[in-house]
């Protein structure tokens, strides 16, 4: 079963009690990926790759796993989920991240 199959009927209001899993259990992992918290954002991080030293601290501290760690340990922002808290900007030791108005 996919996350979409769990989430979509509820969003659309198209289900009966028989369509729902037993006892409000969610039988698949990480269905929250269907919930895009990026829409909460009023500011957003911008990475200056010229300054980035690949220390990964922004990746480590992001509460939303919205900083993606790439194969070469460079990072990018997943704007689908980034809530715009700015923790990444604060923890960056080389000021490679700046928060901008959305």
């Amino acid at each position: 079963m996919s996350a979409k199959k769990i989430v979509e009927p509820v969003i659309k209001g198209q289900f009966t009690y028989k369509d729902l899993p037993i006892a409000a259990m969610i039988p698949v992992p990480a269905t929250s990926l269907e919930y895009k918290t990026g829409v909460w954002r009023t500011r957003q991080p911008k990475i200056d790759y010229g300054k980035c030293i690949k220390c990964l601290l922004c990746w480590v501290f992001c509460p939303d796993a919205a900083i993606k760690r790439l194969e070469d340990d460079s990072v990018n922002v997943d704007y689908e989920y980034c809530k715009g808290c700015g923790v990444c900007e604060t923890v960056c030791p080389v000021k490679a991240i700046s928060m901008e108005e959305v």
Binding site: G13, F15, Y17, I22, A23, A24, I26, P27
Partner: protein
């Protein structure tokens, strides 16, 4: 010691329950000491300590935790047992509802005892009544043999794929828990056939990770509760099948209720628990005198066997419902109120009276049982009772 052939033994109610649990391939037992269920867990801990039962025995630091441990263990796939009474059940209350609503199979023995205050350790059904609406299946034993047999049936019913609900086996404090009665156990082999190791429909598993016990908001909450309603009713539907399977190995057949000459009776008395036995003896005496009385002892209180009970009572001319519990400020005892509603919505307009008796373990003797049956007969003859509720024997 392995139990092979069916041989008659003498045993206390608590010990009989422990024996049934031992024979049920149980994996985890968690409980907290409270009179008068304590002997159940003492025996179980002995079985485990002596290597006669391969299970985890956990004495929790409270009943609330005991039931919580059971929920965790059952979600992990174990066959789980707990037992309690009175205050302990009240302390569990919050988790009682979580257990059924999370559809967690388990069996709990309840040694029905009065609730504080005043402090009293004796028999009353007022402890289980607050759990009436929880979605648990509630079974009541009228004697030690039934307490034993119903424990097996409870496990099977609880784990039935269409049910997946916790089940309580209720036995009267002291009257059954501490009374030595004859018991014919089933063999270990039959027990294992009836209850092979539990095969959970779903459980905690890293390879198939599920999220259990979520929050559901108004958009889905009612549908999840409707699932619970359906499951509780389903428990009533599959019960005869489970009880039938048990009858094949034990020779003892269980139904939604015990009844003694209720089919053709003019006056019927309905009761929960061990008082059924007293009433039965009294009814036999009155029948010998040609008085058409009958007695019904409800085995399954939840789900409520409405259809079967209506069928049984359709020719009765009067009914007394005996409650060993009371709804203070309400219309009477909980069983009475339910039966009134049942009769009304099924068009049975017979006089009904409520006898509230035996609270806090007050004795209810054979002569009193005869007296109640005679009042029922009088109601049948006159087509009415003079009062709705009588607190039997109270010095009012």
């Amino acid at each position: 010691m392995a139990r092979q052939a069916q041989e008659r033994i003498a045993i206390m109610g608590d010990e009989a329950i422990a024996l049934a649990v031992k024979q049920s391939n149980v994996d985890v037992i968690a409980a907290y000491p409270i009179t008068p269920q304590t002997i159940i867990v003492e025996r179980l801990s002995e079985y485990v300590a002596n290597g006669e039962l391969d299970a985890a025995f956990i004495q929790a630091e409270s009943e609330h935790s005991a039931l919580s441990i059971c929920v965790g263990a059952s979600l992990a796939g174990a066959r789980v047992f707990t037992s309690t009474a009175s205050q302990g059940l009240a302390l569990m209350h919050e988790i009682v509802y979580a257990t059924s609503s999370m559809r967690v199979p388990m069996v709990m023995a309840i040694a029905n005892r009065s609730l504080n205050a005043p402090l009293n350790i004796h028999c009353e059904h007022g402890d289980v009544m607050p759990e009436r609406d929880s979605g648990w299946v509630h079974l009541f034993a009228t004697n030690v043999q039934e307490a034993y047999d119903l424990t097996f049936i409870a496990f099977k019913l609880s784990e039935h794929p269409d049910v997946q609900l916790p089940v309580s086996v209720n036995l009267d404090a002291f009257i059954l828990t501490h009374s030595v009665e004859p018991l014919t156990p089933i063999s270990d082999e039959d027990a294992s056939k009836f209850l092979p190791p539990r095969q959970p429909l779903y459980s905690i598993d890293f390879d198939s990770p599920a999220t259990f016990g979520t929050m559901a908001l108004p958009d889905t909450y009612m549908e999840f509760k409707y699932q619970l309603k359906e499951a509780a009713e389903k428990a009533g539907q599959v019960y005869p099948e489970v009880a039938g399977e048990y009858a094949r190995i034990s020779g003892r057949r269980y139904w939604y209720f015990n009844s003694y000459m209720a089919d053709d009776a003019d006056a019927v008395v309905l009761v929960l628990g061990s008082t059924y036995g007293t009433l039965k003896v009294a009814a036999r005496r009155l029948r010998e005198g040609g008085l058409k009385v009958g007695v019904v002892g409800l085995t399954m209180f939840r789900p409520f066997p409405e259809k079967q009970l209506v069928e049984l009572l359709k020719n009765a001319k009067s009914l007394i419902v005996m409650d060993r519990a009371y709804s203070y400020g309400g219309l009477g005892g909980p069983l009475y109120m339910e039966v009134l509603a049942m009769l009304y919505r099924n068009g049975l307009r017979i006089p009904v009276m409520n006898v509230v008796y035996g609270l806090g373990g007050r004795d209810f003797r054979l002569d009193e049982a005869e007296a109640v049956l005679k009042i029922a007969l009088d109601g049948a003859r006159r087509g009415r009772f003079d009062e709705h509720v009588r607190w039997w024997g109270v010095r009012a």
